[in-house]
């Protein structure tokens, strides 16, 4: 019941906002904030009631009749993998409402913007809680429309192109994904229940598994996005309004990885092993390609977008090892990337707002003009490049380490090669992030902005950013806060592919 409320409260809120007249902006914003806060409060209650002793077990479940004709049920529940991501999605939504308080992008219209934001939250929360493939599919798709409109209406100059590209890419993936789901239904005992399919799915023949995995792979890999399906991401990020970029980077990209971990790997373990070398390969290509892409960017947001491609590469490398160690790293990496990249997009948005441009070459001396903003950019850049002590480190380092000893049956030599490439990728990451920091924050202001008054971080921004900054620091210092939650849930997933014992060995002798 609580979980159901956490999923549907935002959409009810959206309906409430729908009846408030457009002119009453204060009321609109207050209502949206209240709903987002209430949803997060439910999240807190769920966390307090969560049995941390058995994170591998589904909790807060509900299992109701829904579409009997196709034997699909309203089955929801969360375990240790879902919980951190669910909380991330709730918190990010609150912060986005706060951040947009007094800077709604053109063409303004806070009513529609806030409705879309709350619809997005329902889609995101629902995806992380769904335990039925059809239900998962509905929530997974539910985020498409609001994001399409968010980019297309409130975005930058090239917004219409970016919006439709985002939509078409994702829809192409999900069209094949739903075919995969239906194939699972017919081959796996006429059920869409993920828990039941985790029993019947692994019994399928290897070639069947590989084929179905292919369909799911297209759906999830495009959403992640993995190289070579990433091309929608830089466009979408560059054109999206700040809040759209933040939600996209912080939560939407996680839906794809989550799909791999929740659905593709446990249900189709044989196929996962067959596909893992390819996924790992694309992941490390993504790491290097994203990093090189970053070096070539002139626009700050585009640079951060390419860095997302690289970071999701690390996450997918962790997933591809199929070990509990690697998948734990992936889940941590998702949360860390959500916090850090979300923060970076916030900062990029604020810079854009102050200078009217995001072009790195035109910026400079941020530290002298807006020292707080400059320092925050520095902090996030360091977090993003994986500095130990900050959250980014625990996503990247264990993922690389996990590639040293992938799950049994995978080619150890190949994955060690991936490990080396990924390690080189971290050097690139330091390179492009520090170079950006240097050009934007250090030195003196360019002649263009020399005499303009740049105001520093203000109230709503501090309010929206502090939780993220605290998260980056706290999870960096105490990574077990997340690892303890995810670990036994990940073990359930990884035991299906035989990746558990291996993980223990790596932890013992890294």
């Amino acid at each position: 019941m609580l979980l159901t409320a956490a999923i549907f409260l935002p959409v009810i809120g959206a309906a409430v906002i729908g009846v408030i007249p457009r002119a009453q902006e204060k009321a609109l914003k207050a209502a949206a904030l209240l709903i987002a806060l209430a949803t997060t409060a439910i999240g807190v209650v769920i966390t307090l009631g969560f049995d941390f002793g058995h994170t591998g077990r589904l909790q807060f479940t509900a299992n109701q009749r829904w579409i009997e004709v196709i034997n699909s049920r309203y089955h929801i529940g969360i375990d240790g993998i879902s919980l951190p991501l669910l909380l991330l999605s709730m918190v990010i939504t609150v912060l986005c409402v706060i951040y947009s308080w007094d800077h709604f992008p053109e063409p303004h219209n806070p009513k529609a913007f806030l409705i879309l934001m709350l619809l997005l939250e329902t889609g995101m929360n629902g995806t992380f809680a769904a335990q039925d493939l059809i239900l998962f599919f509905v929530f997974f798709e539910l985020v498409l429309l609001p994001m399409y409109f968010m980019i297309g209406v409130w975005g930058g100059p090239n917004r219409q192109y970016a919006a439709i590209k985002f939509f078409l890419f994702t829809l192409f993936g999900s069209a094949l994904m739903i075919l995969g789901f239906l194939a699972l239904y017919f081959k796996g005992g006429k059920t869409f229940d993920i828990q039941e399919l985790m029993v019947t799915g692994p019994l399928l023949g290897r070639s069947t598994q590989i084929l179905i995995f292919g369909g799911l792979f297209m759906g999830f890999a495009i959403k992640v996005p993995m190289f070579p399906f990433h091309t929608w991401l830089p466009d979408a990020h560059t054109e999206a309004p700040t809040v759209g970029s933040v939600i996209l980077a912080a939560v939407l990209l996680k839906l794809g990885v989550y799909g791999f971990i929740r659905i593709a790997i446990p249900i189709l373990p044989e196929a996962a092993k067959a596909w893992a070398p390819w996924i790992g390969g694309l992941a490390v290509i993504g790491i290097i390609y994203g990093a090189l892409g970053c070096l070539a960017q002139k626009d700050m947001k585009r640079l951060i977008a390419f860095s997302s491609v690289a970071h999701m590469g690390f996450v997918m490398l962790g997933v591809a090892t199929l070990t509990s160690f690697g998948i734990n790293a992936a889940v941590f990496g998702m949360v860390a990337h959500g916090l850090i990249t979300g923060m970076l997009f916030f900062i990029a948005g604020s810079i854009q707002e102050r200078f009217g441009t995001r072009e790195i070459a035109r910026l400079g001396g941020l530290l002298t003009q807006a020292p707080h903003l400059g320092w925050l950019l520095g902090f996030c850049a360091f977090a993003s490049l994986g500095l130990p002590g900050l959250a980014g480190f625990w996503g990247e380092f264990p993922a690389i380490l996990a590639a040293y000893q992938p799950a049994p049956g995978l080619n150890v030599g190949l994955f060690r090669a991936y490990m080396v490439v990924a390690a080189i990728g971290t050097v690139f990451a330091a390179g492009y992030l520090l170079w950006m920091l240097q050009r934007v924050a250090f030195g003196t202001a360019t002649a263009e902005f020399e005499h303009s008054h740049i105001h520093d971080v203000h109230g709503p921004e501090w309010l929206a950013w502090t939780p993220l900054l605290i998260g980056i620091l706290v999870f960096g210092l105490f990574p077990h806060l997340i690892f303890n939650v995810t670990d036994s849930a990940v073990n359930v997933i990884a035991s299906g592919v035989g990746g558990v014992a291996q993980a223990a060995a790596v932890v013992a002798h890294p």
């Binding site: 009749r65 829904w66 579409i67 009997e68 004709v69 196709i70 529609a112 059809i134 599919f137 509905v138 798709e141 539910l142 498409l144 429309l145 399409y148 409109f149 297309g152 209406v153 917004r159 219409q160 919006a163 439709i164 939509f167 078409l168 829809l171 192409f172 069209a175 094949l176 739903i178 075919l179 239906l182 194939a183 239904y185 017919f186």
Partner: protein
């Protein structure tokens, strides 16, 4: 031998005894006939200033027709068969009769202001519309070649005339003439096929044809050709590619409510006939119709979608979109013969698709009507900035468009999922390939649906005229009904899924 059989048939027919008629089962047709007569008489006696009564009679009449359908569904036998199995009222018939009457009602709502404000004949319009609906509800019960043909002509002939209702408009004249000529051609082809089937089997009752075409004896080239002729005839009716050429011109030229009627009701009528023929009569010869439907489905989806990409007129776009949608409905038919299970899920999928398609397509046409009241234009660019001055209409249109595109949680997504399910239930490689083609096509389709959404939400108002649109009450009701269908079924698809599942054909 065949001739002897036919002769025998004739002889038994000679000693005529009046067939037993189940008046409860015939009640919908009887009520509608009374309404038809009432509309015709009212037009005769009413003064020009009182013509507004006619649409009221027609719409209340349609609602009255609904009552016997409900009582039939709730009470009595599941299957009521008459005239030696030529006329059957079963769940399949009831579901589709309800659909036809629902569609007819929404079209009436869409028409009333349009017909009243334009310089059109009023009484005749409603008479012809109801006559066409009469043909459709007869079609849903026809299990006999001759009854099917009569029903088809009853639903088509009024539609030919309605297409030319804007009689001073050359485009409308062209629409009517083209529709008529190709429709008659299709009927001729189909009749030829039917006559061959009668010649071979010696019966016009579908169930008997089904028995005779079972087994290897029926693998006769004559039967193969006959089945192909019949199906090609109906392919014209449902505007499947390559027999679609009349549809875009007819749709563009006809008055918009009539276009909505043609693209939903008339097309559904064609599909209903196909279901009955294929699932009862021709089931034994799936080697003929499965590949035929497969080719038709692939061509219809792909050509419909690709041509729709290039349209600038919104009605033409919806015309091509409705061609493509017919392709998705054909997909399950292409795999229906694989096994009894596959046949069942194929029929369910096609019926669910028809039900959902009716809601979303009528909704989209209602918006086109509402917007055209202000802009007087059918260009897609006339939708520019609609969200700024008519946010309600823009949001509704967005819902209809993305439902047509198949985005969850809207009804259209479930229609597609049912189609995919039927395809994978058959499970053959050919079926899966068909599923992938359908999936790719649904992505292509998104592009042109989203293009209208893009105009409404992201483009400026073309002439800067932001006066709000006044939407007449009947149109608001039509929009209300259709959006409720699309959204409620989207959230709770069990509703239509159940109906589709229920509506298995009696053999």
């Amino acid at each position: 031998m065949l001739l002897a059989q036919a002769a025998h048939h004739q002889v038994t027919q000679a000693g005529f005894t009046a067939p037993h008629l189940d008046y409860h089962a015939l009640a919908p047709e009887i009520v509608l006939s009374v309404v038809l007569a009432a509309v015709l008489l009212a037009d005769l006696v009413l003064d020009e200033s009182k013509k507004w009564v006619i649409p009221s009679i027609a719409s209340f009449g349609l609602l009255a027709t609904f009552i016997p359908i409900i009582t039939l569904a709730l009470y009595g036998d599941d299957v009521r068969s008459m005239v030696g199995g030529a006329y059957v009222v079963d769940n399949f018939a009831l579901v589709l009769k309800a659909l036809f009457i629902g569609v007819g009602y929404v079209v009436l709502l869409m028409s009333s202001t349009y017909v009243e404000e334009g310089d059109y004949y009023e009484g005749e319009y409603y008479f012809l519309l109801l006559a066409s609906i009469m043909g459709m509800i007869v079609m849903a019960s026809s299990r006999d070649l001759i009854t099917i043909f009569v029903a088809l002509e009853t639903l088509s002939i009024p539609a030919y005339i309605l297409a030319g209702w804007r009689k001073r408009d050359l485009k409308s004249n062209e629409a009517s003439l083209k529709y008529y000529l190709l429709g008659v051609l299709a009927s001729a082809v189909m009749l030829y096929g039917m006559s061959l089937i009668y010649g071979y089997t010696g019966t016009t009752i579908l169930a008997d044809i089904g028995t005779q075409l079972q087994g290897s004896a029926a693998h006769n080239p004559l039967v193969t050709f006959a089945i192909m002729f019949v199906i090609v005839g109906f392919a014209f009716k449902v505007s499947a590619v390559p027999f679609h050429s009349w549809a875009p011109d007819t749709y563009e030229g006809a008055p918009t409510p009539v276009t909505a009627f043609l693209s939903v009701a008339s097309k559904t009528g064609g599909f209903v006939a196909i279901f009955q023929l294929v699932f009862i009569g021709f089931l034994g010869r799936d080697d003929v119709w499965m590949p035929l439907f497969g080719v038709l489905a692939v061509l219809t989806m792909t050509v419909g979608n690709l041509v729709a990409l290039r349209q600038t007129n919104v009605v033409r776009l919806l015309a091509y979109s409705s061609i493509a949608q017919a392709g998705y409905i054909l997909v399950p038919l292409a795999v229906a013969g694989t096994s009894p299970d596959a046949a069942h899920s194929a029929l369910t999928a096609s019926i669910v698709y028809l039900l959902v398609y009716a809601g979303m397509n009528l909704g989209a046409f209602s918006i086109v009507l509402a917007v055209a009241r202000k802009t007087r234009s059918g260009e897609i660019s006339s939708f520019g900035g609609l969200f700024e001055y008519a946010p309600g209409l823009a949001v509704l249109m967005t819902i209809f468009l993305f439902s047509l595109a198949g985005i969850p949680p809207l009804a259209g997504a479930w229609a597609k999922i049912f189609v995919f399910r039927a395809v994978l239930d058959a499970g053959t490689p050919w079926a899966i390939a068909l599923g992938v083609v359908a999936a790719v096509n649904s992505v292509i389709a998104l592009f042109y649906y989203a293009n209208i959404a893009r105009q409404m939400w992201m483009s400026p108002v073309p002439d800067g005229d932001r006066t709000p649109i006044r939407v007449p009450t009947p149109l608001v009701t039509a929009l209300g009904i259709t959006v409720v269908v699309v959204v409620v079924v989207g959230i709770y698809p069990q509703l239509f899924g159940h109906l589709g599942d229920l509506a298995s054909l009696t053999r």
